[in-house]
Symmetry: C2
DNA sequence: AAAATTAATTAAACAACGTTTAATTATGGG
DNA sequence: CCCATAATTAAACGTTGTTTAATTAATTTT
């Protein structure tokens, strides 16, 4: 059969993205394959290649959705009011919770390396930057008379740090320490860094 | 032909490990394949499977060697004398230099997820722990009256942090900031964290 | 309404992959 | 010299990403 038009191009796209999310979420990145995705949505690989450039393209687009969800969850967690330091803590714990709730999907965002050109699209970079922007926004009120450049640097150092702790925990490379202590480690990192950054110890 | 015995089992093992190192170093983890390794050492895949359990086993053993080299380089960098904080800085810069000099090989250590059982061998975990032990040793003299548990936590938080910054930089996800600023970011992380950890600002 | 065009979908092919199997072939001891 | 042993390979299997040509349904044209 052909030209069934049971689903529009966008519908197929949506179905494929969801199928990948479910597959990766359950079996991990290495359990993913074009044929499995196609079978899951009731089509053949050929149809998949009509909608997506290739499998890497499909993965990048799923990663984009994951980043969007992460950004949303962090935005909800940080809220508007409250102690500035406490808001940064919430931001960190929110990041960790996201990674714990769906480790495979979260891991794929950072495990995946683009194949040919080696450069991620600009709209993708923008989603990453949005995450750092949230940290910078929380950092600004307690940064004293630090320059914007210093704040940007602090945001990246801090969030790289939180991210690294998550990665090592998820891949079992924290040296005997399990996943359960990740929030404690991140809290230690945030508290001590902020103490140093602001030059004052918090109550 | 068969039973050439041109090389002993251990020699083939050594040749294979070196071949993987060269392949991954040049083409990255995704450019690796059993057949390429076999061809590089002048044998067939079958011989490879006589010496190694499977390709994952081969990768794990290469990762072990990479971790050994990393540990060695860090040990040389930290030295014995000098300011305690400065030694921690050297440790961090040494880690970063290692990741920059051979990003693909370094990345494979943390990208690779064991397949079936999902658990890394004990001797592998021990190599990871040795790295944290170096950090703890440097941390101890400036830790005041912190407990060993607190020092262990600080070491993991700090090194998770340095590692995360490296990962984000190598995978191009630092949000517009390039690899060149990694040392600065790590220095920011270390200085501010240590300021908070010791409760005193350094000169 | 029938025919011709267009486009969606598939089946089949390709090369490469990890891994296993059976068949070879060189070496050692009798 | 032959036989048993063990090293090595060739070939096979199932799966992978991707491309190709063929098929088929819907749309347009006559």
């Amino acid at each position: 059969m052909a030209r069934r038009s049971d689903h529009s191009r966008d519908e197929i796209r949506e179905m494929a993205l969801s199928a990948v999310e479910e597959l990766v979420s359950k079996k991990g990145y290495e359990g993913l394959s074009a044929r499995k995705v196609a079978a899951a949505i009731g089509y053949t690989v050929g149809t998949l290649y009509l909608v997506f450039e290739n499998l890497d393209d499909l993965v990048v687009q799923v990663n984009a959705r994951t980043l969007d969800r992460l950004n949303l969850q962090m935005m909800e967690a940080v809220g508007e009011i409250g102690d500035d330091r406490q808001r940064l803590m919430s931001l960190g714990q929110s990041y960790i919770r996201f990674a714990e709730e769906d480790p495979h999907l979260w891991e794929m965002v950072f495990k995946h390396r683009v194949p040919r050109n080696g450069q991620l699209p600009a709209w993708y970079q923008e989603k990453v930057s949005r995450m750092f922007a949230q940290v910078e926004r929380c950092l600004k009120p307690i940064a004293g008379h630090k320059t914007p450049g210093e704040i940007a640097q602090a945001a990246r150092a801090l969030w790289g740090g939180v991210h690294g702790i998550c990665i090592l925990a998820v891949t079992g490379k924290l040296g005997g320490v399990g996943v359960e202590s990740v929030p404690d480690l991140a809290e230690s990192l945030l508290i001590n860094y902020l103490d140093g950054f602001t030059g004052s110890r918090n109550p």
